[in-house]
Point group: C2
Amino acid sequence: MNDHRFLRALRREPVDCTPVWIMRQAGRYLPEYRATRAKAGSFVNLCKTPQLACEVTLQPLARFPLDAAILFSDILTIPDAMGLGLSVEEGEGPRLAHPVRTREDIDKLGVPDPETDLRYVMDAVRLIRRELNDQVPLIGFAGSPWTLACYMIEGAGSSSFARPKALAWDDPQTMHKLLDVIARSVAAYLAAQAAAGAQALMVFDTWGGLLAPEMFREFSLRYLSQIAQMLQSDNVARDVPLILFSKGANGHLEALADTGCAALGLDWTIALGDARARVGNRVALQGNLDPAVLHASPDAIRAEVKKALASFGPHPGHVFNLGHGITPEVNPDNLGVLIEAVHEQSFCRVG
Amino acid sequence: MNDHRFLRALRREPVDCTPVWIMRQAGRYLPEYRATRAKAGSFVNLCKTPQLACEVTLQPLARFPLDAAILFSDILTIPDAMGLGLSVEEGEGPRLAHPVRTREDIDKLGVPDPETDLRYVMDAVRLIRRELNDQVPLIGFAGSPWTLACYMIEGAGSSSFARPKALAWDDPQTMHKLLDVIARSVAAYLAAQAAAGAQALMVFDTWGGLLAPEMFREFSLRYLSQIAQMLQSDNVARDVPLILFSKGANGHLEALADTGCAALGLDWTIALGDARARVGNRVALQGNLDPAVLHASPDAIRAEVKKALASFGPHPGHVFNLGHGITPEVNPDNLGVLIEAVHEQSFCRVG
């Protein structure tokens, strides 16, 4: 399993062909997902029932020759375990019933114990590993401290996240206290996922790109580095590659590559070759086609795959993916075209 | 008037203090705007009634020592004049009743005549100039071809604009035909605004940053260049500075600076000093505080203004602004703090 092309690519070792997986590959574009989701009753219940989380995790692998599975879960499991009360209504974004707005709110937060407070996630990881039976590696994940803080303060999604930003400007000490407890929680959570069997770990910094450069360094990057360092000092997690994905933060690729992570996720607003030129051989790169390409024709999809592979060049260290999650309206057949094109067009190119 | 600090800064000439205006300065954060908006009955009617458009254009100038007025209008006046049927419902985004989806739809589109089909805009420009009485310069504006094409194809806002992107991939020739007729329309519209009295012109490429780099160059940048060149060959507009703002497209600043525009608008995800280092003395820069800063305390606002001015440095060629439009929930007093801080902290710095 350690020789699987996905794990080899993350270590920047030669592969037979470029590995590919897709963010949100277990998701609403699949009718079988929608059926399991309906059976679960709610999105949160789907996340919290290991048997069902395992079922949807495996669904895309039954259809497509994907090179990795990713745990079906949500980045807000940690705030939920901290007592903030997660719910996700159909057709709306997530909500936290008890947002944290004051120093007193934040002082009360503790680091959840993964094997008790987030046991359902660890059980799902163990069950998925058993069911996968070493077919492909399993990726575990968490949200970044900044991204989780955005939701924990705002209590829901937002186009601007003005509340967390205002806290960062007006009371940076309190914001750092919050980010520190989240970072320690994320590190413990990811280490526990590794111990339960996750073979790669990914941190989604979905809202890092909403920050001005100086704020990004102080309130997002700093805690991504802290997590990478904490995982390096964990006996199991130190050997599990860490992928960092700061969406919209292409101005910071060099700094992200210096955190000690194994790979960077990239959105589609930078050419793979330009990103590679900037980070050199420090990290592998994961990405990065515009998810909208799956609304184009099969010929256009193949052409875009070809251009992305050419942009990266015949080097080791590329994991193919979209630059953001696959969207619900996509025809699954188009994803099949993309995956086949990645494997065919990259076959025996890097050896 | 030609010596006003706003126009001098756009020409990168020394100024007494850094000029400042704010995107969406005539907008919902002002109670007097909401009153006029209610009187107008609909947003579209507000745009189409020169007297009311003039009234809201001038409202922020009565409160704050702003250094420019910007025509109150909407980027979708051109698609509306092409017959697509604009409406904007309260609390929702804009809608076009007749989106263009096929080659046949696109073949039917013509370039609107500004003085007949968009007469209400030209009348508003003339009226505002008269009422301004040379107090400050007036900015005219339009949407970019790519951004207008997004709305014209999708028929509404979208988080991904998958339809226009799919057309660009599947039938680039048809997409170019659409972008060309829009670019010619935008150039004619901006030239007419200049003839009617606009003293600076701005193009909002709101959705350029949603494009992968190669697509940005082919489907957005190319038409921004076309507009800049067409305006250069217009007897009046050639002397009116053109500001290009491609939100989220910081990877393309050098190319945008080479279009022949006078200035670039910047969002807040790049440091002003870094942007200036990249474009050198080719263009002035406009921006770029995170609009969320207006939710912070007056002290934090002043500190962020100070940092932005320091980042740009004591050079000519800076127009202060936010990095995106001011949001409806802002306390107007906080905008007053920002404007005062810009003038005070930059006074006699560049001379």
